[in-house]
Amino acid sequence: MTRLQTVVRWAGPILWLTLALPPVRHALESTLTLQMLVQIPLLALVGWWLRPFLPDRAVKVLNAWNRGGISGLLLASFAAMIWMLPRTMDSALNVPWVELAKFTSVPVLLGLPLAVSWPRAGFVVRGVFLVEATATAFRLGWLYLVSPQRLCSNYLLGDQQLAGNALLAIGAAMSLLLAWKLMWGHVDVDGSHRRSHA
């Protein structure tokens, strides 16, 4: 294993530890937008990068229960849903065990299942997942913008609205990107099956 490969292999845990450093943690939790759209996605990325640590045998067993990546993506969706709730993001700041739960469950139950399942998912499953994700970005963004009161006790209303606008922008960007790729780009419909190694 070259040094580069070693670094790449350990990128997940390194990022994990970095995010857990108190100054980094406080900085990324200082606003709702940062926590929701930077910290949590980065924690999910940690999980994605933890994929090489799964033993091949475990992956083999998982795959038998994860045809087309469906059960894994479902798991990731639920984990994402829970960490999208204003309540959980709010409590993570006040309650240590919630913060701990976030730092473990987002990588393990969101990022890792995505990494295991996405390559196995076919066009239709990916399509449903992406359409639902896009719709959710729009819904949450709208919700944050129209909520009459602050949804998080720890964050300002202006911050909440910034997060709302950012979510709408993400939804719009995802729609345009998907539309562009499907209309004019190259989509490898069968790629998933070929790459579905054990």
Binding site: R67, I70, S71, I82, R87, L151
Partner: protein
């Protein structure tokens, strides 16, 4: 075979996911921590910490010594130009609406400042008079030390954050404490009728 296994796994994930979602929202009722606080208090009344308070008159009172009557508690800071000032007016109006029970010594209104370094007795008294204090049954006070402040904030579940303009933003509400010294209900700060109802129902029992 893997179809059936996946179906089974998906159903399990679905069940676990719904359970987890339900657990983290108190059965799909509380999606924000503020609602969660209210649900929790309603279902499991919470004992208040014994904290020393200094009133606008300069007297020192133990929160625990106020037991034996219904308390309506809100949290304020007197520099507030936005809704804390309205909160004061709402309390003055509550003095009228609950005048009877107040006169009987069964109800007391209590405004606590979470900004004790700035809010001394003078500021608190000024706040009360600005809010058209009716003169009976309303105490404005501040915790006497930082530990007391923290205990109060924790006990009532109040979060105050800087608004970036030198002031605070906080989850304002009217906290209802029963004669046994337990926090039993939390009402919106702008709907004193709701708090009033809880008190009147309690008094009628």
């Amino acid at each position: 075979m893997s179809v059936l296994r996946t179906l089974l796994a998906s159903l399990l994930v679905l069940a676990a996911g719904v359970t987890a979602l339900s657990a983290s929202t108190d059965g799909f009722r509380a999606f924000t921590s503020e609602t969660a606080r209210r649900v929790a208090v309603r279902e499991h009344p919470r004992d208040l910490p014994p904290v020393l308070l200094q009133t606008a008159q300069g007297r020192t009172v133990d929160l625990a010594s106020l037991r034996g009557r219904w308390l309506l508690v809100d949290f304020i800071y007197t520099r507030c130009l936005t809704y804390c000032s309205v909160q004061g007016n709402e309390f003055a109006r509550l003095q009228d609406r609950l005048a009877g029970p107040i006169a009987d010594g069964k109800v007391l209104l209590l405004s606590i400042s979470f900004d004790p370094t700035h809010d001394g007795p003078v500021q608190l008294a000024d706040y009360q008079s600005r809010s058209k204090d009716r003169g009976a049954g309303w105490i404005a006070a501040r915790p006497t030390d930082t530990a007391g402040l923290e205990a109060l904030m924790r006990g009532f579940g109040v979060t105050a954050i800087s608004d970036g303009l030198g002031g605070y933003v906080h989850n304002a509400a009217i906290n209802v404490v029963d004669p046994r010294g337990r926090l039993v209900a939390i009402a919106d700060w702008d709907s004193p009728q709701e708090a009033e109802q809880v008190v009147l129902r309690g008094l009628a029992r």
